[in-house]
Amino acid sequence: MSRISAHTGAAARLAEPSPVGVLADRYFRYLIVWPAILVLLLIGLFPLVYSAIVSFQKINRRVEDTSFHGLLNYGRLVGDDRFWESLLHTGIFTAIALPLELVLGFLLAKLMLDRLPGRQVFIALLLLPAVISPIVAGAMWRLMFDNIFGPINQVLGWIAGGPVNILWTINDNPVVVYSAILVCEIWQWTPFMFLILLAALANVDRSQLEAAELDGASYWQTLSKVILPAIKPVVIVALTIRGLDLVRLFDIVWALTRGGPGTMTETVSVYAYIRGFERFDVSFTAALAFVVIVLLSLIVMAMLKRLEIAR
């Protein structure tokens, strides 16, 4: 019933003859694709071109100088510590959240794969975090972590046997603030990993598992030699989707800390927002946006070609 298509080669697809005969129609095939392309140029081409133009000018809250200023803004970007720090913060969030979501999602999928009464109900309930707006998720955890009204400090107080007063989201200890944001992020997206891995695990060829069992393979051998290779293509796709989401992390950070305290949790997206919409550094932000668009487009296209999920 189900099959994994992630590794069907692009080359094999191209080799297929395109359906000719009655279906072929030079006029119709372009007629139906052009409206979508035109709309896509609004987000695909326009921002790129416009950012490029504005990034060579000098527009900010005080000056509106549209003459050519060369690489002025790019120079400022390279020399801007806060930009590099925001890149570092984004990298830290991604590096910690991505493996944890994968491992927790995998364990959860293993738990629900075997015989479990009421499995459909559990799966439906675990979907809830994934369909909640990230802003709501952020607000939710801000309340959970609230030092006065939140239950987390209360529960920690029960364990510690005395009142605990941790200022989770406004603490100047990065470990505490990052933990709060990461808990929210992992809470929201582990179910996503879980759902994908559950479907992938259910698709693993049963006869191979039985053969491994007959051959007397240990649990770890079966896992590493049969199960993991079988789900690898799906895992790579899931990691790519989540990785690209984490690189543009904005909503939950905005709801939990607004990048604070100070600039401690500022991601690239949060920093770009603050420069563009709170400080009106138009040309600087345009340079930042241009660099981000070009870099990510190249990374994404290279990745998609390599993964061959393009089919």
């Binding site: 409206p35 921002p47 905005w254 946006a289």
Partner: protein, 284 residues
């Protein structure tokens, strides 16, 4: 396997202990995941004294709809309506434009793999990089804080996803039906609307659900492009974080309005949706 008339309930089978252990573990994990949601939603029903009690109260003494009435009275629920309009209209447009484009990509290989990859790569660009130039453009043409501005942007942002998913669904449909429809004298548009669309209806449904949710939950575009007239519900939620005070009960109530309809739709239709979540990596 015992025959069905001898089937025993699972708790009397061999190995029932393991099943009990799994059930217990699944219950604990699910409760842990749902507890924050319970906490926020319960806040909506608490009295003001209970909301601001310290140490916090774990459940409201009474189911109290006061907060919802305040949202209605102050007009804050308009945000839910705005979300419905922008997400709904943009989803319909994106689904139509995206599906016909996907048909061209799937059946005629229009643009080859490069066009397909370019299209999906547009989806991966950070919204903040897109919204900045778009805001400057919309400011010039007067589209800031209008339905049409937000709908245009959501349509464009969701199109790559729709094209990508629908291309996969259409490729799975055999060609013969379309060919015989054309031979029978249907026009191309009739073939598309009367033959192809019904054949991919589960795919259309799943993709529509996800496209709607993306637009419904979206925050950055709405934050930048709305002021007062077309505030969407996630932006409205952030307005309850005040300088002096945070209105937790309103945040809870607004979150309930913005979350439960979406959750019930997805929970009902979950078996159609895995492919949509994995962007087609798993076919179902």
């Amino acid at each position: 396997m015992s025959p069905p008339w001898k089937a025993r309930p699972w708790w009397r089978e061999r190995g029932a202990g393991r099943i009990w252990a799994r059930l217990a573990a699944a219950l604990v994990v699910t409760l842990l995941f749902l507890f924050p949601v319970y906490w926020l939603f319960a806040t909506a029903f608490k009295t003001p004294e209970e909301v601001f009690a310290s140490p916090p109260v774990w459940y409201p003494s009474d189911i109290n709809f006061e907060t919802f009435w305040v949202l209605v009275r102050d007009g804050d629920v308009d945000a839910v309506w705005n979300s419905l309009v922008t997400a709904g209209v943009s989803t319909v447009i994106a689904m139509f434009l995206g599906t016909i484009a996907a048909y061209s990509l799937a059946r005629f290989r229009t643009g080859g793999d490069n066009l397909a990859i370019w299209i999906i790569s547009q989806r991966m660009i950070p919204p903040i990089a897109i919204v900045f130039p778009v805001f400057l453009l919309f400011a010039i043409i007067g589209w800031v804080d209008t339905y049409i501005g937000l709908i245009a942007l959501y349509t464009a942002f969701n199109l790559p996803y729709v094209i990508w998913m629908m291309r996969g669904y259409i490729e799975d449909v055999p060609l013969e039906l379309e060919e015989s429809a054309l031979v029978d004298g249907l026009t191309r548009w009739q073939t598309l609307l009367k033959v192809v669309f019904p054949m991919v209806r589960t795919g259309l449904f799943a993709t529509t659900v996800f496209t709607f949710i993306f637009a419904w939950n979206e925050f950055i575009f709405a934050l930048v492009l709305t002021r007062t007239d077309v505030l969407t519900f996630p932006v409205q939620v952030t307005h309850f974080f005040g300088q002096q005070q945070t209105f937790w009960a309103k945040i809870g109530a607004m979150s309930i309005l913005g979350t439960l309809p979406v959750f019930f739709t997805v929970a009902m239709a979950q078996r159609f949706l895995v492919r949509g979540i994995s962007m087609g990596a798993i076919k179902g």
